[in-house]
């Protein structure tokens, strides 16, 4: 199993500030799922000045739409989806108090600036390693919008969920740094 620095959610600014690109981490505690449609709904609520269906303060949002759980299992396969589709939404959730996101692939737009401004962190977990990631999910509770199916918001309780810090609160970006290091003419 993966090794790394252990962190527990909800996160404080101090913990977020201690995370730098390239750090391997193991997350324990609650994380909240959400992807395209759930983000649209969450941002609509925030823009109307209404409350989110859960307390977002200090929390991480996991961009995932799991496959259905087999009988006796907590969750189906649950790897990350491409985060770039949430570029528009992530800064709004960071402003509302979220401490970061878990997904795959580089995040652009206003996201790097928002990570700095609101002391947030973007973590990647291996895309397509969905059966492996699912093993670190110990509980799964529906929070909102069951009609969205795989896209509904759920509270996952995770134990030693493996991730890598890919975009940090200092503007560091492993997608840029890593590729630069191994690029050849």
């Amino acid at each position: 199993m993966a090794e790394g620095k252990k962190i527990t959610t909800p996160l404080t600014d101090e913990v977020v500030k201690s995370l730098k690109i390239g750090d391997k981490i193991l997350i324990s505690g609650p994380i909240y799922t959400g992807r395209d449609q759930a983000h649209k709904k969450m941002v609509d609520l925030l823009e109307k000045g209404e409350k989110l269906p859960f307390d977002v303060k200090g929390q991480l949002i996991y961009y995932v739409g799991p496959s259905p759980a087999k009988p006796g299992k907590v969750i189906g396969s649950a790897g990350p989806t491409t985060s770039g589709r949430m570029n528009k939404y992530a800064p709004i959730l960071l402003k509302a108090g979220s401490k970061g996101m878990i997904g795959k692939g580089e995040m652009g737009g206003e996201v790097p600036e928002a990570l700095k401004k609101h002391t947030g962190v973007y973590l990647a977990t291996v895309g397509g390693a969905a059966a492996l990631v699912a093993k670190s999910v110990v509980a799964n509770e529906l929070v909102a919008w069951p009609e969205l199916g795989a896209e509904a918001v759920s509270k996952l309780t995770v134990k030693d969920f493996p991730a890598i810090v890919v975009q940090d609160s200092y503007g560091g970006n492993l997608y840029v740094e890593g590729v630069k290091k191994y690029q050849r003419a």
């Binding site: 995932v64 739409g65 790897g79 795959k104 291996v126 397509g128 390693a129 590729v179």
Partner: protein
């Protein structure tokens, strides 16, 4: 004429959907293991090891290796001596998709309309490409195609004067632009020639070839190898976090072209490069 019952087609498709999503092909495992020897980035190596571990868990526990169990894409080669009995071929395939995705606990990712859409609830309809061939067999090739890698695809109507160098540049630039998004290490499918729609279809079809297979024409086989080398110099690496292993393979399919046209298409597959076939 040889008769094939629709219920046998449905059963074969149901099993293909589950098998492809639970059990990654040996071609992918071999290519990932081989890449461990050449990968220079420690993070890259760790990611490849995680992918291999993930694929093993999926197989052992009989669960999908990736939660995105894809759009169900089929290439069907139907022998001209085959007669479909008691129903319709496309309906039989869609019924198999419905059964496979429901009974196999696979994710349903299809909206019934691109704009006004709601989830169809059973991952139908499938995308089916039918080809009539000689003989009395029905060959059903299946690939569940994930959205993340499918989104990193492009077709370009190039100029004949762009030549093979122009095509190579288009493919490499496209892969670089895609970066971390299609879940590298990827398989790159390329179509060259034909018409607009046929070119894109060839790029998709090339992804059904096993990793390590080469185009039978030595000229294109060499281009495949050159492109693979060039792409792996990009530094994108596993998951786009830097490294040598950006692509596991490049596959090219070609077709004659109009004197004025020079279409080229790129269709990318993620490392969960699932493809299985059944012959009835």
């Amino acid at each position: 004429m040889r008769q094939i019952q629709v219920k046998d087609i449905t059963k074969a498709v149901r099993d293909l959907c589950i098998d492809a999503n639970y059990n990654i092909g040996q071609d992918v495992i071999d290519a990932l293991k081989k890449s461990l020897k050449t990968e220079e980035s420690p993070t890259g190596k760790e990611i490849i090891e995680q992918i291999l571990e993930n694929d093993k868990i999926a197989q052992e526990e009989q669960v999908p290796m990736c939660q995105d169990t894809g759009f169900a894409v089929f290439f069907v080669d139907m022998g001209d001596q085959v007669c479909i009995k008691d129903g319709n071929l496309f309906k039989a395939i869609n019924e198999g998709v419905k059964q496979g995705y429901t009974e196999g606990y696979l994710r349903k990712s299809i909206l019934d309309d691109p704009i006004k859409g709601k989830n169809t609830g059973d991952n139908t309809p499938a995308v089916i490409h039918l080809n009539i061939v000689s003989g009395d067999k029905l060959k059903i090739s299946f690939a569940p195609k994930g959205g993340g890698s499918e989104n990193m695809s492009e077709i370009k109507m190039m100029k004949p004067s762009d030549g093979i160098e122009g095509i190579k540049k288009f493919v490499v630039d496209m892969v670089k632009r895609s970066g971390s998004n299609p879940c590298p290490p990827i398989v790159v499918g390329v179509g060259i020639g034909g018409t607009f729609e046929m070119c894109a279809q060839m790029a998709k079809k090339s992804l059904f070839r096993p990793i390590g297979s080469r185009n039978p024409d030595p000229f294109y086989a060499k281009v495949e190898e050159e492109l693979l080398e060039e792409i792996n110099k990009s530094g994108i690496g596993p998951q786009g976090l830097g490294g040598r292993t950006t692509a596991l393979d490049v596959h090219i399919e070609v077709f004659p072209r109009h004197i004025a046209s020079f279409p080229a298409a790129v269709n990318i597959n993620c490392h969960a490069a699932r493809h299985k076939e059944a012959i009835l």
